[in-house]
Subunit: 340 residues, 2 copies
Amino acid sequence: MKRKVTLKQIARELDVSISTVSKSLRNSPEISEDTRQKVQAFAKLYNYKPNNIALSLKNKKTKTIGIIIPEIVHHFFATVISGIEQVANENGYNVIVCLSDESFDKEVINMEMLATGSIDGFIMSLSKETQLKKDFHHIVEVINQGMPVVMFDRITNDVFCDKVIIDDQMAAYEAVEYLINKGFKKVALVTTVDYVSVGKLRTEGYLKALRDNNMMAEEDMIVKIEDIDNCSVKIERLLEEQKPDAIFAVNELFAVTCIKLAAKMGVNVPDDLSVIGFTDGIISQFSSPAITTVSQNGIKMGRSAAKMLIDRLEMEEEDEHYRTEVIETHLVERESTPTL
Amino acid sequence: MKRKVTLKQIARELDVSISTVSKSLRNSPEISEDTRQKVQAFAKLYNYKPNNIALSLKNKKTKTIGIIIPEIVHHFFATVISGIEQVANENGYNVIVCLSDESFDKEVINMEMLATGSIDGFIMSLSKETQLKKDFHHIVEVINQGMPVVMFDRITNDVFCDKVIIDDQMAAYEAVEYLINKGFKKVALVTTVDYVSVGKLRTEGYLKALRDNNMMAEEDMIVKIEDIDNCSVKIERLLEEQKPDAIFAVNELFAVTCIKLAAKMGVNVPDDLSVIGFTDGIISQFSSPAITTVSQNGIKMGRSAAKMLIDRLEMEEEDEHYRTEVIETHLVERESTPTL
DNA sequence: CTGAAAGCGCTTACAG
DNA sequence: CTGAAAGCGCTTACAG
């Protein structure tokens, strides 16, 4: 077992000073061609690599990005990480991932843990609990300490920082209008509880689309789901009692659940019922029928967030001007809506 | 903007030495009750937190685990990360994630990048290209430097280290035997190319199950898929020409693809064709019909891998004895196989 | 051209 | 009880 070699050891071995070794390896012009070559050859032989931690301490930057997301076993978030990782890698950054598990406390703990030196900046999406509590002191604090934060998807307007979002309201509006234009008269909504920012915005888009088309929004046609695990009853009741001819669901789990429950009740999708989901994930692609959905390009969101963060990290002067980037969405037509 | 406060600043502020501040905060008995309280109060007021990087350099451990996996947009791997993260968190560790993108070079680069001080140990699953090349020098090197590595799922026997796997061959054997016991006579296999270790083992399990039941393994009943994106032709040909009554697919993507293609050809699952997949992911759960599958508990594998790594990191003496943990699997019966 | 010194932020054995 | 010193591994302004 040969342990990692340090400058000190090389210096001792070659009988020169540590400074000389360091400078040689960095090709400083101060050093004679001769010693430089000698040192470099030796370093190569022993596979010397500078210690990242020492560099971080010295340079006061770690070249790593902290990501805090609610969960990773969720296609959309995995997709965003993938995008972040691409850009991070291209720029010599690493990525450290923490999961809040939708818990406020875990989000706070993770942020504090990372904020003390481990990373240069954050990319995050709020936990449900944080959105419910509307307590963002941990984020504001980090920003005040001079550490940049980029929020994506589940954001809040109460914190000033860079953001990457989609236009949730508009995207929902377009999806619902698409259904209306197909001639559907009873378009139901399956959405989240209101405190989830994106759910709320998508709900608003739904309402607006109905309004603009002179259709009444009926309370009974809207199902708000708190917890995916026991949502079946509510959806079944919707299908039975309201008999909608189309459903707009604010995520793909809701959409596929609607389709499965409909099938169980003998309601055929798309013949008797059309369904549009949100987030173009693996479920939408592979469910039968494949689900028409609002695509939300996670890779792109991740790449964009990483770019914004790195730009800010490598900026010369501080810039108090924050940007919000809106990633475009579009409707992916598949089998859960009629083809003409 | 109030920047992070350091021991030095507290010391200056309170007009004591840095050592005194440090000791006070760590409740050293050397320090008088009086100054200790004073220092602690002040530190609390200014929200002092020791700098992780400085601690890492001093202690020569970073309390972070490096994860290298082929991709993250893959339910199984996301699941494993989630399990690792749980145990890491419980033990005060962070998790740094790198993706090899199935590329040997990226795997090597990422390992070297992390190995130089950033982390205390690795948890990894090999990229396809690495398995194809059978070049593991980067892993051996890291281990020789004294940095522990735990491999999971896609492993190799050519490297000595801790491992977490399932018994792929046995699990496949059981799945195929299950089909045979149901009375199916023409059980086809949809698998990966041979160099993917888990694919190969599952293939062997399939062959053994046939053999043990006095059934002939026919070449035409076995489809080996290199690349998911253009596998349709091969599977369609299998369905058309061989008309299997059951298919064992070595992952859920293959399984769902078989079902979708069968549906397109008017072959009903499970009435005309039974399908069993592998890896109990989101696709198996939500596809229609839901897919009977060999569950491979990613969370458990992740937890176990993290536990093994942390145990080794916190072990007093070096232990040259490596363990291989086998996580149990079981068949989850769903709609793609007959119910009786 | 080379090396000693200071410093990044911390801890701890040792001296006073 | 307090503080100076050494050290983790590195870089760089400065002296010689």
